[in-house]
Structure formats: C-alpha cells, structure tokens
C-alpha cells in the first residue's frame, strides 16, 4: 500500500484495522457500537473538539455507514466542518453531507450558507467542492438557492474551465429536479455556444446539459445541431495525436463523440439543411469506415471505445431511418460482430439488429443473418445473450420466415432456461397468430407450446387459441381432431385439458363420425383427466359435459351419472357441486329444444386485440419488444417488404384514425380503449367459466376503482402510457381531489384533455368542478389536476372522466370512474349496542331497508372485510352485535340539503361462503345506493 498523500488520519486507520481484524459479525458489531458510543460522548462532551478531531470522528461515522449501519447523528458536526478554513476538514464535511443527505430543514439552511460562501471563493478547488455538493444533493432547495449563481458561472468569461465543467453538470442535475432553473432568452444561445468552447472537457460536460435541455425544448435549442455536426466531424477526422489527453487508447474523444451522436438523436430529421446533412452522412460513413481498419491497439479499451462510437453512430442511423445505404452498411457491420470473440460485442450487435429489423430498408438485410442468430440462440453460454437472440428472431420474423423461426424457437424451448420460457411462449404465440396463413399450423404451434412448456403458457395464450378456433370455421374440425389426439398422451398438461375440453365441447361433433373418436370415447377420455385437475378445470369440464348432452343425446345417461356423483359431497368445492346439480337438473328438466338453445355453439368473438402482446410488453417495461416494420420517414422506393402484412396494417390504421386501435389481427395495438364502456361486447371466456374463478381480466390496463370505495389515495389507473394517481380528502359535504397524471413514455403526450362526464341532472346532486390542465404532458413528467366536489343531495354511481390524448400520432381515449361515490361523504358515528338496535328497529319501513345476499370472495376473509369497512367511511362498531363475526357500522351522509343517518350490518356465513348485507337508512335512495356499492365487495 502506498503512503497516503495529503493528510492522513491515524485514528481512522486504526479503527478500520480493528474492524478488519474482527473474527465474526458479532465482534464487528460490538466494536462498532463501542466506537459509536465513544463518538457520541465526544460530540456531547464539554470539551470542545478541534477541527482535526471532528474530521476524524465524522470520517469514522462515514465508514460505519458504508459498512451498512445506520447513522443518526453527527450531521451538525459535519456541517460545522463546512465552514472550517482548512480545506481537508471542509472536504470531509462535504463528503459526509453528500453521502448522508438529510433534508432536515435547519441544517439545509446552514449547508446552503456554507455552499454560498465557497462558491464566492477565489480558489477554484473550493468552488468545485461546493458545486459537487450541490449536485450530490440536487434537491429543489438547492435549485431555488442557486438558480442565479450557477448559470452565471457557466457562461461567464472569467470562469475557469474546471469550474465551468462542474457548473454545467451541476446545473443539469438541478434541472432534472427543477426544470424552471434554466433561464431562457439570450442564455439559450450562450449555452449552445459552449459546444464551440476551446476546452474539450467543457464541451463534454456542456453536451450532457444541452442534451437534457433539447429534450425539453427541441425548438429553442435547434441551433445546437449545426454546431454538434461540425464538432463531431472535426473529432472523427482528427488524428489521434490532435486531441492529446482527450484521445483514449487511440480513439479521439470517444465520450464527446458519443454524447454528440446522442444529442443529434433528439431531432428527426436531424437537419433540414442539405449541407449539414451531407456533412453528417460523411461523418457517419467515416465512422463505419474506421470500423473496417485494422485496430491500432490490441487492448480491449481501444476496441471498446471505438465500438462505443460505432454503435452510437448506428443508433443515429437507425433513428433517422432515411439513408438506405447507411442502414445496410450498419447491418453488415453488426453481422460481422455476431461472430466476434467478445461476448459483449455479440450481445450489443444482436440488440442493435433488433432495431434494424424494424426498418424497411434493412429488414431484408437483417434476415440474411438468420442462421447465425439461430445458432446464437442455441449455443451462447450466457442466457442474456441467448435471450437477445430470441428478441432478434422475434423482430426479424415476417411472413416469409415465420414457419422456420417459430419451429426453431419451439425446438429451443424444450431446453431453454426457465427464466426466459414464459417470454418465449408469448413470442411464439404472437408470431404464430400474426403470420398464420393456414390456421391448422397455428393450432399445431399452440398445442406444441402447451405440450413443451405447459407451465409457462398463460391464460391469455390458451384463451386466444380458443377465440381463434371459434372464429374460424375452416379450422374447427382440425382443432377437434388434434386436441383429441393430444389428449391421448398418458400425461398431458392441465392447459391441454382446458383447451381440449373447451374445443371438444364446442366441436366434438365434427369428429364423432369416426368410431375411434365416438362420443363416448371423447367423454371417457376427458373424464379420465377430471380427477387430476384443479377446480377451475373441473368446472370447465362439467360445462363441456352438459354441452355433450346437447351434441350427443346418446351418452346422456353416462353424463348424468357423473353429474349425480359430483352434485353431492363428493365435490368439496361448492361451485362444482352447484354446477353439477344445475346441469343435472337442466338435462332432466329441459326439452331438447330448450337444451339446444341454451347450449348453442358459442357466437364468434368480436375481433379484438390479442391480450398476449400486452402481457409481453408488461414483462419488458424498459424495452417494448417489436415485430413491426416502421414506415420510413422519407419517401422511399417500394421494397418487397411493403407486401408485409404489418406494413399494410400500419398504413391502414393511419388512414382510419378513429379505429386506430383495432388492426386486423388485433395484435399490434396498444391496450384497448374500451375500458369501462361497452364491456358487454367483450364476451370473454371468463364469463363462461363463472365469475368466481376470474381473477385477471384480459385488459392490460389496471382499472379498479371499486377498491377506491375503501380508500382515498392510490393509483387509480395505469397502462403502458399513463399512470393516474389520486389523492383526496373529504369534510362534511365537501371534497377535494387531486389527480396526478404521469407520462410513462419517452415522448410527450399531446392534446392531453381530461373531460368530466357527469350529466347536468347529476350535477344538481353532486357538483364537481375541475381545473384545466396543460395540453401537453412531457415525457416522464407528471402533472396535477385539482377537482372539488360538493354533495348537494344523495346520488347514485360516480362521475367519470374521459381522458384523451395523442401518443405517437394515434389518438388515445379512455374513461375512468372517479372515486367519488356517495359514501365519501360519510361521517362515522359511534354508538353503543342499545342505541344501535333502537335505531335499527326504528328504520324498519319497506323503503328504509335494503338487503342483498352474495357469494364471498375466495377465501372468505373476515379481517379483510373489516379493513375494507373501516375505509368505507362508516364507523365499524365493535361489541354491538351479539355474534362476533357479524360486522355492524353506523354513519351519517352529509349533503347540503340534509343529513342521512345510515346503519349497516354484514353477516358472514362461513359454511356457505356467503355474506348477507343489510342496509337501513332514513332515505330510500341512500339505502339502495349503499347496498349496491357494498354488495360483492367482500
């Protein structure tokens, strides 16, 4: 170990050695506690500590913190060090503050004062220390306190270069937390012109800042494009000796080059000026050419830096998507990397190619590498590289190579890592559906998926195959035959039983002519699986059996026997018992005609988006997987790719904006917009299976305002684009609601417009006022909207808000119910048993009572029900009802015109897994509404 320069602290070194010599974790903790006690007493003691001692102890605290222990004192001493006139003490003070930021308001003011002093210092070392601290804390407090000083430091002619560099990045850090810190006007051009600065370090730091500013306001900073292009061009053509210490392993200024290339990706097209454009293309070509030159060094640093610039250049080429020549060259270059020795390069090449595959200019070019990519999927040692290969195969798949790629993916799935199976299953399912010309192929693929990786086949996948079979007559017979064969396997996955059960129930008649699959054979085959299946599948099979009675009257008695067996205690599950009994009765009571009507073939499903894609997107939040060829951004010659279905869909949806979200296959659309409306048209399979088992809906959007009956704050809605949070408070008959819209995408949402939907008639009962919001919701930003509500008279339901905006050129619209049901205006009322039951008896008129009996959510959860009731707004009264399981509540609804007293009783029946809910109130409409709100909620 080299002797430490500067000024060492012996006490600290001894302490660190002690810790290192500890034999056990316990010994270490003991030593630390001893030290903490020591430091605490020193800090509290009467003897004033000198700067050196303070510094030493603060440093020890830091070390203890870095070992993973919590530190809750020493902040004041650290702040004292900031104003020390010794640099070494000051520096430790700043370090402590930076690492253990504490937004304690008193201290923050002291810290800010010290920073102010140091910013004024004539010594650049002090100024930088202060800037680093501001950047490390980066809070709004900091932004507010230094919004004047830092921009000045950045552009002033007297500032030294080292300080400018720190100031640029410090400003960037503050800008991220408080965007208003950047002055506009003449500052804009002064900031842009930092790109011309003599000092490479200043340019590098400034480019990061400008990149962030451009993202926020591209038009204002448009002037940076020309400067960036010419700076980049100069660097790329420089010889490595020109830039001295800014050359890194023979690569001229790789950091600055990459930053400039990133900066340019904020514009599309990068520039309108032909001259600039030509210079940029020339530069990009030079970068591509250099990749072909022999390396100047064998060191990995050389190749990394060089390729970092190359990959960023390729990103820009892909982003512009307008230069076929460059795109093809990029693709060839990446193709070479696919067989490079370095795992890192192979990984990045696969990743980059995923993007190239979505450009119509390079899609065909990418396909040339299919063999290698398939090999990567099979042979790579690192699962993340294999996964990237799968992503690329997915992206390069089109009608021409779909069968081959799907087959290869299926083959690989048998041995694939568990961690990527589920995603692969989704991808195969999507590709098979999207590129199926022959639906028998599609059915085969999905059944193979279930056979090979049944555990990873989610509900969405098997729902989808059934929807498609039902909608396509030509494949129904084949599907029935194939599932029948698949079910012959001695061990078959439960998902296969589900699909088989459903399809045979609908189309078993199509294969019944063959004696090998005669009705009784089908039935026995299915029933042989029954006992191995979960209740949900059994329920499905019971439905299949009753359909069989309709399809094949000749096996009626066999099936009735089974119903009989399961209609009693043999089925522990209440739902199964009930189904078996009801189906049995139906088969006995109903005439053939009635049976035929009840059990008619399922109608076609409305063509709608496949929920599989949404599931896939959800799995990869950062990176939306693509299998879609973008339309080029400039007029281009027609290539063979235009025949591609995806492309046709794309332009189709552009023409027909109102219908933009329902393309022909329903595969490549953002999540459906029909949330909350027209749910009747969404006849999902779930309906058939009975509500008790339907846990997840098919929509990817989280839309559950029901739970807001019981709470006031939380996430109201969320999909890929938008998150809406809500905070609300209520007093008497008044309420205030804050909606927080967060843009989750990388692009601004424009024409953002929430509209309240609450009829004039309803508004006479509940008056809701909504403040307007900005029409643009920036990428990653959040805006707030305030609503006030006044309850004038009791009302039913709750207002809805319809949100519309444009995302990537498509209009989006959905409706969300606001958490503004009438129970929000409850005031809880405490009362004893005597007065509760006295009032209860008083409210016994026909109009004052309302009662509902409903099935409990599985499993019946009394504690959960109590929690919900506590959030509902009424007072949950303990020791009132003689039966401790029963829950009773009391409350008053405040409206402007009157106050409505309301009592409620919830009685669980554990045997039957049911609840009985009784509501009594002095007003009939309230009684009914409260009863409606609460039923089915437990």
């Amino acid at each position: 170990m080299a002797p430490v320069r500067g000024d060492g602290m012996r006490g600290l070194a001894v302490f660190i050695s002690d810790i290192r010599n500890c034999k056990s974790k316990e010994a270490e903790v003991k030593r630390i506690n001893k030290e903490l006690a020591n430091i605490r007493s020193k800090f509290k003691g009467d003897k004033t500590l000198d700067g050196y001692q303070k510094k030493k102890y603060v440093c020890k605290l830091l070390f203890i913190f870095l070992l993973g222990h919590d530190i809750d004192f020493g902040h004041m001493e650290a702040v004292n060090l900031l104003s020390s006139n010794k640099y070494s003490e000051k520096q430790i003070g700043y370090l402590f503050i930076s690492v253990l930021v504490n937004t304690n308001s008193d201290l923050i003011r002291l810290i800010i004062q010290s920073i102010k002093n140091d910013l004024q210092s004539r010594n650049p070392v002090h100024v930088n220390l202060a800037l680093q601290c501001i950047a490390n804390i980066g809070s709004r407090d900091m932004a507010e306190s230094f919004s004047n000083e830092i921009p000045k430091l950045l552009v002033s002619g007297d500032t030294m270069d080292v300080v400018k560099q720190s100031a640029a990045l410090c400003l960037l850090r503050l800008f991220r937390s408080s965007p208003d810190i950047i002055p506009g006007g003449e500052w804009t051009s002064r900031i842009i012109h930092l790109l011309n600065d003599q000092h490479m370090g200043v340019v590098t730091a400034a480019t990061s800042l400008i990149d962030a500013l451009v993202k926020r306001n591209p038009d204002e900073y448009k002037g940076c494009v020309n400067l960036a292009v010419s700076r980049l061009s100069r660097i790329v053509t420089a010889s490595y000796t020109d830039l001295q210490d800014y050359t890194y392993y023979f690569v001229p200024a790789p950091w600055l080059s990459v930053k400039l290339l990133r900066l340019l990706q904020n514009y599309n097209p990068v520039t309108e000026e032909a001259g600039v454009r030509a210079r940029l293309n020339e530069t990009l070509e030079t970068i591509l050419n250099k990749a072909q030159e022999p390396p100047k060094s064998k060191k990995v640093q050389h190749s990394n830096a060089k390729n970092a610039v190359l990959f960023e250049a390729i990103n820009l080429i892909i982003h512009s998507d307008s230069e076929p020549n460059l795109l093809v060259r990029a693709c060839n270059q990446l193709g070479q990397f696919l067989s490079n020795r370095e795992t890192n390069l192979r990984y990045l090449a696969l990743e980059s190619m995923c993007h190239l595959a979505t450009s119509e200019f390079s899609h065909e070019e990418v396909k040339k590498h299919q063999e290698v990519v398939i090999l990567s999927m099979k042979m790579e040692k690192d699962v993340s590289v294999r996964q990237m290969a799968v992503d690329l195969l997915y992206a390069m798949c089109d009608r021409g190579n779909a069968e081959e790629i799907v087959q290869e993916m299926l083959n690989y799935l048998e041995t694939a890592d568990y961690s990527i199976r589920e995603e692969m299953v989704l991808k195969v399912a999507i590709l098979a559906e999207k590129y199926a010309t022959d639906y028998t192929w599609y059915v085969d693929v999905i059944l193979n998926l279930i056979r090979i990786a049944g555990d990873y086949v989610s509900e969405e996948v098997w729902y989808r195959v059934i929807q498609i079979v039902i909608n396509r007559e030509e494949v129904q017979g084949y599907a029935a035959k194939t599932v029948f064969e698949a079910l012959q396997a001695p061990a078959c996955h439960e998902n296969m039983v589900k699909v088989g059960g459903y399809i045979l129930g609908e189309f078993g008649n199509l294969i019944a002519g063959d004696s090998r699959s005669a009705p009784l054979v089908q039935f026995k085959l299915l029933h042989s699986k029954y006992h191995l299946c979960s209740p949900m599948t059994r329920a499905l099979l019971l439905s299949t059996y009753i359909k069989f009675i309709n399809l094949f009257p000749e096996i009626r008695t066999n099936i009735q026997d089974v119903f009989r067996q399961h209609s009693n205690l043999r089925s522990a599950d209440a739902e199964l018992q009930q189904r078996a009994s009801e189906y049995l009765q139906l088969s006995i009571v109903a005439s053939t005609d009635v049976l035929a009507t009840v059990l008619e073939e399922m109608p076609s499903f409305p063509e709608r988006e496949s929920s599989i894609l949404a599931v896939l997107k959800k799995k990869k939040p950062g990176r939306v997987p693509e299998n879609e060829i973008r339309e080029s951004k400039s007029p281009a010659p027609l290539s063979s790719v235009t025949q591609n279905n995806a492309h046709v869909n794309n332009s189709h949806s552009k023409l027909n904006n109102s219908n933009a979200n329902t393309d022909l296959l329903g595969l490549s659309t953002p999540p459906s917009n029909n949330i909350g409306s027209g749910s009747n048209s969404n006849s999902t399979l779930i309906d058939v299976l009975g509500d008790m088992y339907s846990s997840n809906n098919n929509s990817s959007a989280v839309y559950n305002t029901k739970k807001f009956l019981f709470k006031n704050n939380g996430v109201l809605f969320e999909n890929e684009m938008l998150q809406i949070g809500v905070k609300s408070e209520f007093r008497q008959n008044l309420g205030r609601l804050g909606l927080f819209y967060g843009n989750k995408t990388q692009v601004p949402l424009s024409n953002f417009n929430p509209v309240l939907q609450w009829s004039a008639e309803d508004a006479l009962k509940l008056n809701v006022q909504m403040k307007a919001v900005e029409p643009t919701l920036e990428a990653g930003a959040q805006i707030q909207q305030l609503l006030t509500a006044e309850c004038i008279e009791d009302y039913a339901d709750a207002p809805t808000i319809e949100i519309s905006f444009r995302y990537n050129g498509t209009q989006q619209k959905f409706s969300i119910k606001l958490p503004l049901s009438v129970n929000k205006f409850f005031e809880p009322t405490e009362m004893n048993a005597e007065s509760f039951f006295a009032r209860w008896k008083n409210l016994s008129g026909e109009q004052q009572r309302s009662q509902k009996v409903f099935k409990a959510a599985q499993p019946l959860d009394l504690a959960g029900a109590r929690n919900k009731l506590m959030g509902f707004g009424m007072q949950l009264l303990d020791q009132v009802d003689p039966n401790p399981d029963n829950m009773v509540c009391a409350g008053i609804i405040h409206t402007q015109s009157q106050q409505v007293g309301c009592l409620m009783r919830l009685e669980p029946n554990k045997q039957a897994q049911m609840f009985r809910l009784t509501v009594r109130a002095s007003k009939e409409t309230v009684t009914r509404e409260i009863c409606d709100l609460l039923s089915d909620q437990f």
Partner: protein, 157 residues
C-alpha cells in the same frame, strides 16, 4: 446518465457506493443486495451487461473488486465500461498500483477522485491528466495546512 455505482469485493462486501438518484435507504440496501448476488453468480466469460428492472447494468471485475454501474436504457454500455476503466486507472495512478486495501483505508480519497470524474451521473472530465491535476491541487492544499499545523504546534508560527 449513470444512476449509481457500486464497488464490492468477491466476498460480497460493499466497498464504495455512489448514488446519482435519490433512493430511500431501504431501497438502496435492497438494490445492493440483489445486484451483488446476481453479479457474483455470473461466470467470468459472460457478457458484462444485463437488463435489470428498467435500467441496464454494466460491470467489470478488477482483481478482487467488482465495479458495477447502473445506466439508463439509452446510455452506451461500452463507454460505461470505459468510465469504469478510467476510474480504475485514476485510482491506480493515485495510489500506485491500487489494491482493495487502498480503497478500504482511503475510502474518502476514492470518493474525491470519483467526484472529479463524474458529477450528477455524467462524465465531467475524461482527461486523466486533468483529473489527477485537480486531485493534486486538493492534496497540495491539505499538505500546506498540515505543514502549517505542525509549525504552529512547535511554536514556529
């Protein structure tokens, strides 16, 4: 933008942590635990990059120490590897053939050097010479103070 940088040993002991985003302490601990386990489980020839939550992880092992950075989706992985390397070079130059012990005993120096290289998760100065010059001028101030202190102690000032 870099979100954070962690240095940890082969035994999983954290040696340095620098956070460029405000995370609650609990989250920091959780992230650290998860990443240390994930990375230590990886084999030497594996790719240095991994997708993790909604960011990318870039890591590299130098002797007994792992350097691990989290960057945003759009950031350049290869160049992040070189930020790590530049940092290692700086430590090496400053301590003279740096080893894990140097970083343990002089963790504050390791922080000061890092602060000269990166601010707010962005590269500030890529020139090795310039960073070392900045650190040297800090040390010079300290040494002056130390000399001054000694002189005062022995009554010469």
């Amino acid at each position: 933008m870099m979100l954070f940088m962690l240095l940890f040993s082969r035994q999983g002991k954290l040696r340095l942590q620098k956070w460029y985003m405000a995370y609650p302490d609990k989250v920091k601990k959780k992230i650290t635990r998860e990443l240390v386990t994930t990375i230590l489980a990886r084999k030497p020839k594996m790719c240095s990059f991994l997708e993790w939550k909604d960011c990318k992880i870039v890591y590299k092992r130098y002797a007994s120490l792992y350097f691990c950075c989290a960057i945003e989706q759009n950031d350049n992985e290869l160049l992040t590897l070189e930020i790590i390397h530049r940092y290692v070079e700086l430590l090496d130059k400053y301590f003279g053939s740096v080893c894990e012990l140097d970083i343990i005993f002089n963790f504050e120096k390791a922080y000061f050097i890092l602060d000269e290289l990166l601010i707010g998760g962005e590269i500030q100065e890529t020139s090795k010479k310039n960073v070392l010059k900045a650190i040297a001028s800090q040390d010079l101030l300290q040494e002056d103070e130390a000399v001054e202190g000694t002189l005062r102690d022995i009554g010469l000032l």
